[in-house]
Symmetry: C2
Subunit: 233 residues, 2 copies
């Protein structure tokens, strides 16, 4: 008769989400303890734990030992964005992909790059400038510094078949990085590369990538006018 279906952690999570949305449980308020919720839903405490842990990771709940679990005051505090390969991003929009290497040489990095890459002034790095094209039109212009001691084999690579972006992703391990998003006003040189007018506002991503504490590469991507980065919660 009372053969109930198993309760999944998603069921619990959805129910909790709904109670928060409906303001049964208001921001800042404590919600019942795991044990009580387990009893209410008729499942094991670990199932409730799984559900609530996910909500805490998403920033919806705040949990503290001994104190309990409360609804976060600002329930939407984090969002994720995807970091696609440039090729994948362009092809994902249904455009044809191409890239051109404009410059490739060893150079001493300027002070700002030294600081970002945590290297001394006297160590030459590989500097590569690449233009990526979607349907033949400039999509993004990349200026990249590569730490050659951390990327064996790069000195023999001309990036004609694989772009610096693709080559590094294929050949070198990464485990972390910094990202800075900003807007710049196009200089005449940048405008010429991206086929736009000087003075236009352009979206910029600066990224420094690391592996096991070592800096691999530092890159600036200047996107074409009108570029948008999108994400959803």
């Amino acid at each position: 008769m009372s053969r109930d279906a198993r309760i999944s952690w998603q069921t619990v999570q959805n129910e909790v989400r709904q109670r928060i949305s409906q303001r049964d449980w208001k921001p800042g308020e404590f919600i019942p303890h795991e044990a009580d919720l387990a009893q209410e839903f008729g499942c094991a405490r670990s199932t409730v734990n799984r559900a609530l842990r996910g909500l805490a990771e998403a920033g919806v709940l705040e949990r503290r030992r001994r104190a309990g679990t409360r609804v976060a005051l600002n329930p939407v505090r984090r969002a994720e964005f995807a970091i696609p390969l440039i090729r994948a991003e362009i092809e994902g929009k249904g455009q044809s992909y191409a890239h051109t290497v404009c410059l490739r040489e060893m150079r001493l990095p300027p002070p700002d790059i030294q600081a970002r890459m945590q290297v001394s002034a006297s160590v030459p790095h590989l500097f590569v400038q690449t233009l990526y094209l979607g349907n033949g039109a400039p999509y993004v212009f990349e200026s990249r510094w590569i730490n050659v001691t951390a990327t064996p084999g790069v000195e023999r690579e001309d990036f004609s078949t694989f772009s610096p972006n693709e080559w590094l992703v294929r050949e070198v391990a990464f485990d972390g990085g910094d990202f800075t998003f900003s807007a710049i006003t196009a200089t005449p040189a940048e405008a010429a590369m991206l086929s736009c007018r000087a003075g236009e506002g352009l979206f910029v991503l600066d990224r420094t990538t690391r592996n096991a504490g070592q800096v691999i590469t530092s890159v600036r991507l200047v996107f074409h006018p009108g570029y948008q980065m999108y994400t959803r919660i």
Copy 2:
């Protein structure tokens, strides 16, 4: 003698991360099954599962039933960014916070806002423009459309003590939204608001916030020149 310490899921996760960083396990390769790893580490399979699930959520691993677990081809594919209150962001930089409401009136939303908010043309919305200041200097200029039927009490609010941003976070539940980041070229009006030159590149965030499927508000934030959004993996 052989009283080993308990193995935590973090231990397993760090070990797996390290093997990937060191390229013992290369991108695209399968790694051992959960059961084998559990035996190797001397812990329960659920502990291994917890560790690997976290890595899969982070995009480091790809897991499929029956097929197994493999190292992702592009190990760093996602990043999180924080969405602070504007007040918290300004004060977090050690600056004094202030805001000024420039405009507050009921209006019919223009077509682009109608599309974003999924409403018909004939429904008036509350339109509020607010300038946020850090140390007295313009920090970000906000143009916001508010769905009054979803935000009871808003018609009596003048946003002098609480900014629209703060008021909505305090009074209304959210559970999702869309974010679009882009760059614009400052119009003369925008330049005047932000005390910058017309034609400068400015960082822009468009956000539409929802609760239980209903659109609450749609906002455009135009930041001062030089603004950067930062995140780290």
